[in-house]
Amino acid sequence: MVHLLTIIAASLLTHNIALTYLLGMCPFVSMSRRMNTATGMGVAVIFVVTITAAINWAIYHYVLVPLHSELIYFIVFIIVIAAFVQLLEMVMERFFPPLQAAFGIFLPLITVNCIVLAVSLFMILRDYSFAATVVFAFGSAVGWTLAMLIVAAINERLKLIGNIPQGLAGIGIIMIIAGIIALSFLGFGGMVDVR
């Protein structure tokens, strides 16, 4: 139990997947220009990351390991992720059209979001149990969303002031903001120690 709590604290704050491992940066940059798109993307990512990590854990431990085919786990994971996202899109279209209208556009982008794959790869590298995997996946996705929301909020404010040098507008300023936020997140370091 304590172990699980440590994992969630680490993945949220001290080892934030966006600000420490620098993952999921492409959607981070494109989505953090506006607050509401950032929120939509965040919710979609939390859902997809948690579930695909659980599915991938089961497939790795119950299919690939008994068959001694760990070699191909990259291919298997990426196909699982792509298939799951596709399935989710179809289910939402059929049964929850309002949800589809709100989150539909974010789903295809998630397949190439590195954090979905990264969480699955970390879980193999660190040899997590099933419970630890789910907690870690959920915490990482929430931490990523948190970081993106902070950056999006600051970015929206900055636009109102509007004194950004021309060359720095867009990606550049988001990088600088993210750097400052990452610096402040370093302050959480040492709170929990987890591999």
Binding site: T20, I78, C114, M175, L186
Partner: protein, 211 residues
């Protein structure tokens, strides 16, 4: 004949575009994750640059070669399977010949799969162009990506560790900027680099308009 075609103006333009004007990282903003994460030391950057270039070229050959056979609906999944297969080769190669680098890079080698440059180039170029141009485009993009990574890595390794390729280059009195070897340094440096690149591009564009 083939040689002539490879040296035609269009071929050279294709090659150059990836490395300058359509630079994946600075101009299009693709492949940011990996470039931030592995640019802390020059060794890692070299391994990543070679890895991405290799996978790009291999994907270009396969996708451009099979472009008439790939059904449009199955495009994405074809790209993914092709890319993952070559990434596994890169991972196994690093494991076998450079185990320390492989260990340091951890999951980032596997994450070449989701490097947007690969999917992006496959969708934008290889699926509609012949093999020869696709390979040139792959080399151009690979070089463009690698030299950026290397540039960031050289700055970060010197400032953060005081070394270059593991050898000490700064005097003993040098105070290490530890933050440069960590995440915030990566953000600041890339932000600044994008700023410079964008300003240069803008200046060049306005000059061209003036002519």
């Amino acid at each position: 004949m083939a040689n002539n075609r490879l040296l035609s103006p269009q071929a050279i333009k294709t090659l150059k575009q990836g490395a300058t004007k359509e630079h994946p990282l600075f101009v299009v903003g693709l492949g940011i994750c990996s470039s931030l994460a592995v640019s802390n030391t020059v060794n890692n950057a070299l391994a990543m640059g070679f890895g991405v270039t290799f996978v790009l070229i291999a994907t270009a050959v396969i996708i451009a070669g099979l472009r008439k056979l790939i059904p449009p609906r199955a495009r994405m999944i074809t790209y993914m399977v092709t890319i993952s297969a070559f990434v596994i080769i890169v991972q196994k190669f690093l494991d076998a010949f450079f185990p320390t680098i492989s260990e340091q890079m951890g999951p980032y080698v596997g994450l070449i799969i989701t490097n947007c440059i690969l999917m992006g180039r496959a969708e934008a170029f290889y699926i509609t162009n012949p093999v020869s141009y696709s390979v040139l485009d792959a080399i151009g993009n690979g070089i463009g990506y690698s030299y950026t990574l290397l540039l960031l890595a050289v700055i970060r390794e010197i400032l953060g560790f005081g070394t270059l390729l593991g050898y000490r280059v700064t005097p003993e009195s040098w105070e290490k900027w530890v933050v440069m070897s960590m995440a915030p340094g990566a953000f600041f440096l890339l932000g600044t680099a994008i700023w410079i690149a964008k300003s240069i591009n803008q200046a060049r564009d306005s000059e061209e308009e003036g002519e």
